[in-house]
Amino acid sequence: MIRISSQQIFSGGISRLQELNASLNNTQQQISTGKRVNKPSDDPVAAARILKLDQELARIETYQRNVNLADNRLKQEESALGSSVDIVQRIRELTVQAGNGSLSANDRQSISSELKERIGQLANIANTRDASGEYVFSGFQGGTPAFSQNAAGNWEYQGDEGRRVLEIDDGVTVPISDHGKGIFVTIPAAAIGTVTTATPGNEYISGVNITDPSTLKGISTDRLEISVTSLAPSQLTVTGPGGAPITDAQGNTLPFTYSFTDGEPVEISGVEFTVSDVAVGDSFEVDTSRRQSVFNTIETLIAGLDGIDKGTAEGQAKYDDLIADSLANLDNAQESFILKQTELGGRMNAVESTKSFLEDSSVYTNEIRSELQDVDYAEAISNLSFQSFVLQAAQQSFARVSQLSLFDRL
């Protein structure tokens, strides 16, 4: 039989009570904070994962904010492009009107004056600013207007090719701005012919028209140099820049010399053009891959409406070419805007799907975090009642045992 000292009865009893109190307090703390892991040592591995999940949640929150901001910016850009499409549409209508042969010079004047208004309107849209006053279409140079008028009164692009990109999820970025150069400036333009004779006479080139784009695409150059070699028979040579022979898509060298009729269309490798009033030695150039800004198109149109004398055959031909080219160029501009709008739509879709993905991952991450950190109330409360039951029992038995003393009987 082991001897028990009176001190043991008391100190043992008290330290048991303290232990029970401590675990009861621990359970109580878990319940009142709702957390199972209150300090890292409660569950070191979970604590480290919780820190990682906290970072994850903070990032998701940031991304969610970025998604909304990206969406706003894309919407602003889209609405600017929508207005641009409308304006170009109106300009196109005016151009069609201007092409009506029965218009008087005055009528053309009034069309040109409306066009001048419209071009200003379009420039305003291209110079759209965001909420903090930065120009949306200037690339990196948000402090500089995207377009401004030079000394000659022509609208010129002032920005660069920068594009702002925002991260909306880990490794997922979305462009939130586009530079005006790509939208308003580098628009494919109708092919044009120019006279390159050193001392030009009466000759002119007109009716430049791409009749077969696929053939044209195959040949080795996009700049045709044409020179008239003889008039009886009428023959001209066609070469690439610097007199280089032209090859087609299969690598065959194309003929060098063609016959033509003055004032009648000639078609070579998918391009049609008409040379008129030519003399031997006259030379022309046809440029098939030009790019021109929408402002330039409209400015050229305005200048033509104001300046071309339709009285001569050349003037008439030029005017007709101007209207046809302008219509083609305006169509291209509209296409450029709509293309960008489509791209924006795609980006907004991506933003939208990222948004719902982020919402989902936020829910999941919170769930995992809660599994790691949060207390299971059912378990904790049953622990609590069990522990308090044990504590009560221990208190009562301690009180009973400690009262027992032989001295009371003496």
Partner: protein, 675 residues
């Protein structure tokens, strides 16, 4: 009759002594260290008569102290263990709460900072957004400072406890020596009459001492005890007590070391103190606090280094190159502060050393001892945590040289080195203290990249150029600015022009020319792939410009692209995006951990240690309780038992008195018969 009175008297006196002893037991029922005593009775030698021996009563031979030396020893051993674990646990718990707290830890500040950078990337020109980035960055540095300050406070608290513990131990050693004297001089000891209360007192002092340090107790002449540290260094020999002490550590002046002074000699005994409260303090300092300093410092260094590099290759709102974001991790002063010369080094102590961080991602948190031997030019670098030699070699003459380690270099700049000289190398120890914010204006935050590219308006091909990627503004070998970045606000050798010409196996080559028409990079162009214009390797000459551009698509001969300084590029957010991306980039541990993961690793390590120490402490407590119970079962006072004895002795006392009363009656009867 006289005999009967005498017998009664011995009974009375004997039981009086027994009652007194029992009373004393009852009175000392709660005295720490008290061992219950009992009276040993013996029958007195009888008178021989013809009829036989007639007893002459009772004699008290001894007052015995019930104690078992083995159990007392067991209690001491368990007290040592528990003392160590309790101290370790209470210090670790403090650290654990500090690091894990949502508001006191680092992770929230890190998350907020990188979130603010992400937000600023959306609108890089906005000053309020920039202000937010600055204040969150300030928060990070304050968190580092606050954590570091808490570590320092805990270090100081450990030092205070060390000095206090040593004082307590000295008092105990003195008392034990004094008690040794008192016991050996106590009367009757030669006859085996032990001074029970002095023995109890000495055992109690020894137990208290064993809570502080691990001791060995061995008996000596005259019932004295000798006390020594577990490896044999004497603490108490008979009446002489040695003195424990603390002094500033020669190796690391921010620490204390334990000393033992005996007969005018003072020794460093850190190696011998490995248990008890004092051992627990050392264990906490070496095993948890110092690594925590190093780990926190490592995160601070990695954060400063990566943020600084990324910020320096950016462009601020005013078109200047970004400067330092946080304080430079390799400033002259900081480099020197990473080396601490041992105070015991031989004169003239002129050795000049510095530690330069070369790659924060490869830097491991730890500290090292650089130790010289031979003629003073042989060196050995020892990892403090493992005790292993991680690098050794011989310095050239003159000594200027570098010792390369993963992530850092030890630069030996000059001075005299002698055999036996030691230097403490702590690459990351002070970094959490020295981190500070250098950028202080919103405009100086470099959210843009300093280069951009544009296609020429006359280009006829379909090739496009990207906006470029910055690699560096300095040549990493010379640390001087690259040619393009030598003038503020412009590309000094630019704008660069990329042009295409016929040639090469692909039929197309590109040339990059600078403003003075010198070709600085050239190569064949393959329309099928993304073509890098420059080299990424800084050692190749002008083809390394510190940035990289890529062209894709099909350019026509004669097409041109211009690469220029990003003048007015206020809306550019490329660098802000890259800065924000550092938040999740794996920048630590050879590129396997992000900042948050690095910090979580520290939290986890301390958490595991705390939990382990909690379990150890619980086990130690149980062991101590068990051995205490065993000691109590021999030496403890049970009041019921004493009450029983009280009754027992009282009855015998009463009976003895009755014996005397009978003797008196007998005597009276006899007197009356003669009247």
């Amino acid at each position: 009759m006289a005999g009967l009175i005498g017998i009664g008297l011995t009974g009375i006196l004997g039981h009086q002594a027994a009652l007194n002893t029992t009373g004393n037991n009852i009175a000392n029922a709660n005295t720490p260290g008290y061992s219950r005593q009992e009276v040993q009775f013996d029958a007195q030698e009888g008178r021989r008569t013809g009829a036989g021996t007639i007893g002459t009563g009772l004699s008290v031979t001894n007052i015995r102290r019930l104690a078992n030396e083995y159990l007392v020893q067991q209690v001491r051993e368990d007290s040592t263990l528990y003392g160590e674990q309790k101290t370790l646990n209470s210090e670790l718990t403090r650290l654990d709460n500090l690091l894990g707290g949502e508001s006191t830890g680092l992770s929230k500040a890190l998350n907020n900072f990188f979130a603010s950078l992400q937000n600023a990337a959306e609108d890089p020109a906005s000053l309020p957004q920039r202000q937010l980035v600055l204040s969150e960055a300030q928060q990070i540095t304050s968190r580092f400072h606050a954590l570091n300050q808490e570590f320092i406070q805990q270090r100081e608290s450990v030092k205070t406890q060390m000095s206090q513990g040593v004082k307590d131990a000295n008092t105990l050693l003195k008392s034990i020596a004094d008690l040794n004297v008192a016991i050996s001089e106590s009367p009757g000891i030669a006859q085996g009459k032990m001074p029970n209360e002095l023995l109890d007192k000495r055992d109690e002092k020894l137990r208290q001492l064993s809570e502080l340090v691990d001791i060995k107790v061995s008996p000596a002449d005259g019932s004295q005890v000798n006390v020594s540290l577990s490896n044999g260094l004497s603490l108490v020999v008979g009446s002489h007590a040695a003195t424990l002490g603390t002094r500033e550590s020669a190796e690391d002046p921010t620490r204390l070391e334990f000393t033992l002074s005996n007969g005018g000699r003072t020794l460093n005994i850190d190696e011998q103190i490995n248990s008890g409260k004092l051992g627990g303090l050392l264990r906490f300092d070496n095993g948890a606090l110092k690594p925590a300093f190093d780990e926190l410092g490592r995160i601070a260094i990695a954060l400063s280094a990566t943020m600084n590099h990324q910020h320096e290759i950016g462009m601020d709102l005013e078109g200047d190159l970004g400067r330092l974001f946080f304080t430079d991790i390799n400033s002259e002063e900081v480099q020197r502060s990473r080396v601490v010369a041992n105070a015991n080094n031989q004169q003239p102590q002129t050795g000049q050393l510095a530690v330069e961080i070369t790659d924060s991602s490869r830097l491991a948190a730890g500290s090292f001892t650089l130790q010289f031997s031979g003629d003073g030019r042989n060196f050995e670098l020892i990892d403090k945590a493992t005790g292993e030699t991680v690098n050794q070699g011989r310095m050239p003459d003159p000594v200027q040289s570098e010792i390369s380690m993963p992530g850092f270099n030890i630069r030996i700049e000059g001075g005299a080195f002698n055999a036996g000289d030691k230097y403490l190398i702590q690459p990351s120890r002070g970094a959490a203290e020295s981190i500070g914010l250098v950028v202080n204006r919103e405009e100086d935050l470099a959210f843009a990249s300093p280069v951009r590219a544009a296609a020429d308006g006359q280009n006829t091909g379909t090739a496009t150029i990207d906006q470029g990627k910055m690699l560096d503004v300095r040549n990493p070998f010379t640390n001087s600015l690259l040619p393009g970045f030598q003038n503020a606000g412009e590309l000094a050798n630019g704008p660069l022009e990329v042009s295409f010409a016929a040639g090469g196996s692909t039929g197309l080559i590109y040339n990059v020319t600078d403003a003075s028409s010198n070709v600085i990079a050239t190569g064949e162009y393959d329309p099928g792939i993304s073509n890098k214009l420059f080299q990424d390797d800084p050692s190749v000459g002008t083809a390394y410009q510190g940035f990289q551009f890529e062209i894709t698509g099909k350019p026509a001969i004669g097409d041109k692209f211009a690469i220029s300084y990003n003048t007015n590029g206020v809306s550019d957010n490329r660098n802000a995006g890259l800065l924000a991306a550092l938040g999740t980039a794996n920048t630590l541990n050879n590129g396997s951990q992000s900042f948050t993961e690095g910090y979580a690793g520290l939290v986890e390590t301390i958490g595991v240690e705390t939990r382990q120490s909690q379990l150890d402490m619980d086990a130690g407590k149980t062991l101590l309780e068990q051995s205490t119970n065993q000691r109590e079962s021999i030496s403890g006072v049970n009041l019921d038992e004493e009450a029983g004895k009280l009754i027992q002795y009282q009855a015998a006392y009463n009976a003895s008195a009755q014996v005397m009363s009978v003797a008196q009656d007998l005597f009276n009867t006899l007197l009356q018969s003669f009247r």
